[in-house]
Subunit: 497 residues, 2 copies
């Protein structure tokens, strides 16, 4: 046992304790907190956040990391932990307490301004606060440092190693290949899906969602599901991983996709090695890889026919009247309706990426300074016209729809697309390595898939970068081809293309 | 504005943020946490606890307190805050980090050992861990310091200013007056209460409990109720004050008394001044005063006839079959059945105090060293025979029944009795000052009582000590006479004494 490494492990354990405590406060805030508690809760989370920042930049941690950096006796996993932790410490030290506090205030103001502006459908109520925030984000890029594009500094926080230049190439593929493909689908007659919007009582939907989660292998001894207005997954160590869902009584889609999507995130967290609590080796790799897990379950498994061959008869038994005469094929078609729409979170799995593309282009331009905040509404609307063929009727349904910028989360959106593309590539590999995979899914047996994901991804923590993980699993880097192959094969069967 | 005082206020605000964060983690642990999360949760709470300890003893806090101690410009409330905070800091500084950690470990071990011993009905499985803990508690008394009895040092943590010598006198009154009174009641024929133990469906009980809380004035915008195995009240500032209840489908008492009791605690917390967050002036005075609020609502209001004149017809409307032919008077008699029993938490409001008396005598003897842990079972059993006339059939139903000692909570039990006695005295004063009080209660109007409590107690925070508060309200110190007067008046009408 390496004494210095044990001290390092203990320091990171305590840091994780504080960060997960913040997680519990956040979870409670979104699920059960009474309304009058909001003001103090924001303050309590902010105090813990300051404590965590101090712990993550302490002289004690730095000293032990610098010592361990030169220790040749460490195992490979331990070495990689030290590298990761040093990177984090150096980054965190670049932000002064004053900068962190100014940013925190600016986020608070921007969030309030965004809420008001969205409600009033008036971008100008948001613009001054967003301008201030964008100035600070530009400053953050300078503080954090970058070699290529300043936006790299933001990307790196969510998707370590990702580069703006690579994303430009990737999204250029998305544009050139997906725009045309979606146009061809849009020209086809739509498949009927009216039965998705009948009255589905809440408690029956809830029970069905729980069964879907159990079937995926989600461990309810180490987790739970609750209701929140925006579904999310959170965890406080890998033995307490919680999901939330939302249920609309007039739209069956809400519950189904939030359960499967969040379940996918949760399986990743429940599969991370418990013994590595608090260490990089116990953490997820990147938001893109995290999203690959939710999207793989949601789209490659959940929006596919084998899954519903098994599950549709069960769903039909719960809602016999609503789904009378509907076949698994009808259902498969209904849940895969492709049509350009204004709101990202309601988009189908193909047009979804145009929403991300638009946000990526805008964020990149904002950070490099080639556009200003005042240009956003007109730019937004022209891009929605260009990529999705839609006229944006109001800023509330346009540039004001997403919460992310008001949270200061620039560089985050691209990970949603990366997740889907990784998912397609991983799923293709899983099918190749497990020939019976979809036959088992048809029988309701999802274990072979989960075992494969556990072995190839979950159990490894942050040992690899996203790129190396992909090479390790698939023998090549992220390749958009797999997503297009998946889309062509699937939608070719759904529409007369 | 006093700049130094503002720094002090800010330091205490942050300390409160961390302590309330621990509160959220504890609440979640008792209500919603999945079982596998337990191990990490204990660790996360312990880390926050260490952080709070460091904040509460920091050089920065000490320096500002010493400066403010000599500041003549402070207002009286501010001066008292500084005195309280200095007292806390000096006490906390007496415990080294090593001592705090050793105690925390000993508590953890004792708790596990207690659970095993209780389940196996085998005190010897608990004795070694409890011995270690008692040794540490004796050491704690020495570290904390005391002028009279060493047990004073423990009492003072829960009931600042309380003295062992005073409690000896008080409990001697309890013995001499209450033992004989209960004997006379026990000799009477029992009033029927079988209807309390019919089948009462859970969801209907839940809804009725919510209505009771609303009627008391509990603010659901600043609180919520959940289910837990042991009912409790917790808060994270006065705008998020939560209660829990437990519901037995075969015993109507569980829900009713936990709702009203915890509701009483919660009203105190919701009534503390929000602007004094984190400061002594925003805190409750002592556990005895806290318990006075829960007991006043539970016993003086809730176990009395005026309350049920209004509420029994409502209860009867919810459970018409179970309560057919039962009158408010029958119900009043059934909820006030006095008979000696083995388990404290199920005891009636009179024999309850014998349970506390026994624990007080034992704790005092343990701390002064006149008995040892190995003597506990036989001593326990002989006292239950002497005060309650009962043979204890097993240690599980005897010395092992309560969790408190395994938590290291010695000096805590007496506050339960103090609470009841304060409650009787305060309630007598409220009746004297508001002649229409019980007429209003009969109409279901509890607002005059709550307004009185808010004015006389809640809004004052920790401005007064418990003793001074009592003098301020009642013109005299705590006087056991009020409890006996209440008991005699009430039980004289319930039993042919």
């Amino acid at each position: 046992m390496n004494a210095a490494y044990e001290i390092y492990r203990e320091l990171l354990r305590k840091l994780a304790d504080v960060q997960y405590a913040m997680g519990v406060l956040n979870w409670d805030q979104e699920t059960y907190m009474p309304p009058a508690g909001a003001e103090l809760r924001a303050q309590q989370i902010s105090t813990l956040s300051g404590i965590a920042h101090n712990m993550s930049t302490s002289a004690e941690l730095e000293e032990i990391l610098l010592k361990l950096e030169k220790d040749p006796s460490l195992e490979e996993k331990e070495k990689r932990n030290i590298v990761q932790s040093l990177k984090n410490l150096r980054l965190n030290k670049k932000y002064s307490q004053a900068f962190v506090e100014t940013m925190s205030m600016a986020v608070s103001e921007a969030f309030t301004a965004w809420q008001k502006a969205k409600e009033a459908n008036n971008f100008s109520l948001y613009a001054p606060a967003l301008e201030k925030l964008i100035r600070l984000k530009r400053e953050e890029c300078t503080l954090a440092g970058y070699t290529g594009h300043p936006y790299d500094a933001l990307l790196d926080q969510y998707e370590p190693g990702a580069k703006t230049a690579d994303l430009v190439v990737l999204f250029s593929d998305v544009r050139s290949q997906l725009v045309e493909f979606v146009r061809r689908i849009a020209a086809c007659p739509q498949n009927p899906d009216e039965f998705m919007y009948l009255h589905y009582p809440k408690s029956k939907q809830w029970d069905f969602g729980i069964e879907l989660l159990k079937q995926m292998g989600y461990d309810f001894d180490a987790g739970r599901q609750d209701i929140s207005s925006h579904p999310f997954t959170t965890n406080f160590g890998s033995r307490d991983v919680r999901v939330t869902t939302r249920i609309s009584e007039n739209n069956l889609n809400e519950m189904i996709w939030s359960c499967i999507h969040e379940g996918g995130h949760a399986l990743y967290e429940q599969g991370l090695p418990f013994s590595e609590y608090g260490l990089p080796s116990g953490e997820y790799i990147s938001l893109g890889i995290h999203e690959s897990q939710s999207r793989l379950w949601e789209n490659n498994v959940g929006r596919n026919l084998p899954y519903w061959k098994h599950n549709f008869p069960k769903l039909q038994a719960v809602f016999p009247e609503n789904l009378k005469g509907v076949t698994p094929i009808d259902f498969f078609k209904a849940i895969n309706k492709v049509h350009p729409s204004l709101i990202r979170t309601n988009a189908d799995e193909l047009t979804y990426h145009f929403h991300i593309l638009i946000r990526f282009e805008i964020e990149k331009a904002l950070i490099e300074g080639s556009i200003e905040v005042k240009d956003l509404p007109s730019l937004w609307n022209s891009k929605y016209k260009e990529y999705l063929g839609l006229d944006v009727p109001s800023d509330s349904k346009g540039v004001l729809q997403d919460i992310h910028w008001s949270h200061g989360s620039l560089g985050y959106f691209p990970t949603y697309s990366l997740g889907s593309f990784y998912a397609a590539q991983f799923y293709a590999k899983a099918k190749a390595e497990i020939p019976s995979l979809e036959m088992e899914i048809e029988k309701g047996n999802l274990k072979p898939l989960l075992d494969w994901l556990r072995l190839k991804i979950h159990a490894l923590g942050k040992f690899y970068t996203a790129e190396d993980l992909c090479i390790n699993i698939c023998g090549e880097k992220l390749n958009f081809k797999y997503f297009m192959d998946y889309a062509k094969a699937k939608y070719g069967g759904l529409y007369p293309l």
